[in-house]
Amino acid sequence: MGHLRQIGYGRENCEQRQAAAPLEVSRRRRPGRGGLLGRPALIALAALLVALASGCGSEPGAPGAAPAGGRPLCIAGSTSVEPFLEKLAELYMREHRGARIDVQGGGSSAGVYAAHQGAADLGSCSRELTEGEKGLVEIPIAYDGIAVIVHPSNPMTDISLEKLRQIYQGTMTDWRSLSLPPHSIDLITREEGSGTRNAFEELVMGEHEITPGALVQDSNGAVRELVSTDPYSIGYISLGLVDPSVKALSINGVKPDPDNIKNHSYKLVRRFLLISRLAPTGQAKAFIDFILSPQGQKILEQEGLVGISE
């Protein structure tokens, strides 16, 4: 019996507890009270929540802190620029132990937005800034072409700008119109926030819209992957990301390669930009300096881009 008394049983302990506990037992039996403190507490909390939610919703986010010593440098945005930034970051981090750079995708518009809000230190963009975005600092780092790609088995090697626009407008829907065996054209485009798409729309479509019936993929790599598996497809990606799994077409007779970009004969060209809310400092500036240095530019040229000084 001794040990039971120790853990709290036994009459004396029982009475002691009964003296202290009865309120708790009877409270359980009282109906209608949702909780102990019940309604007033719930109402107060609800009010607090609504206030919190509206506070969060109304004012724009506080400008993100400049990269503190501890936080990694975050660059977000264009999926066209992303692989090149990755490569540069990998090299930079190898040469500067302790540097931490994170590269995210999301698309050019997402990158500009993130830089503007402070969620990212730098945004990357593969199109020009719009009127509404003009207040941001833009740092061009390279020129890149937009390549129109088809499956390697597609016998075409060249396409006119006019025909390309018609295909993307949706007025030309069958390969038959291009003197190929009849089959519907599987048209692939990027999502609306894509810099590549915006550049394509500006350079190729002009006033016309891309047809809503086009297949949408959310990154350059995804478009390339799709075109490389579908013999009836056509799409556009960053020239720097073309590889042997797809075939890049000449536009109006001009082949898409860096030389033709440099001598301005290949027309589908856009700049790669890094975007910042304020002039970059600290780690951001150091990394940008690295990208713009001869070493950084050489890496970009090796990967298929055209340096910014050309």
Partner: protein
Amino acid sequence: MNQGKFIERVLLFLALSAIGCLALITIFIFKEGMPLIWHTGLKDFLFSSHWAPTKGYFGIGAMIISSLLVTLGALVLGVPLALACAIVLAEFSPPRLKTILKPTLELLAGIPSVVYGFLGVIWLVPLIRDHLGGPGLSLLAGAIILGIMILPTVISISIDALDAVPDLYRDGSIALGATQWQTVRRVVVPAASSGIVTAVILGMGRAVGETMAVIMVAGNALKIPTSVLDPVRTLTSNIALELGYASGRHREALFATGIVLFVIIMILNLSATLITRRR
């Protein structure tokens, strides 16, 4: 015993925080999305199929139709298979097979959706493209993948529902001279119907909410599909494609889409609760 009261206060605090978080999300979503619905008008928002957010057109009609069609397709393809499987495992198969297969199926419910999407892109899409036509990325591909994805859930819950039918019913039916199949068809399944319907509704909820697999196989085109081989964009895919850069009215429109999805799920949950309660 102040300790007891203190603990109770702590638990209350935890509970209110948890409920607070959940409420916060709901309030947040509605607060962000409602302004757009006022702005565009509920009718235009829901029924117009012109979605061009950069130009101020926020009609999600095409996407609502696509979501519904994909879900319907998933149910049409998945539920018969799932029901057949459930009936076989619950009624016709030797108990040992059931004890092996039922847990296996429940484990399979945990396979991530991106894996299904990936296999769909590799195997299913070329199959559709080469043998049926179209780009392969299509309503059909989405429906098939979703149908497969809801199989484990629907089978599992249906088996539970069938198991819950008392053996008394079966014995009574056999005693009256019915065959096993007649028993199953006319006695057991109707008795388990509320559970089976719940299973289907839960599967439906999962199909409506699925994002990643659908983005990978459905094509994401902004048109109302005219055939099952047409590419489609569902409500969830649309949110995923645009949420990274949407701001202002555009972001409000995405939250408004969230409200629509939330309401759909709520309706599904309510129906499930009502159906189980009626039985």
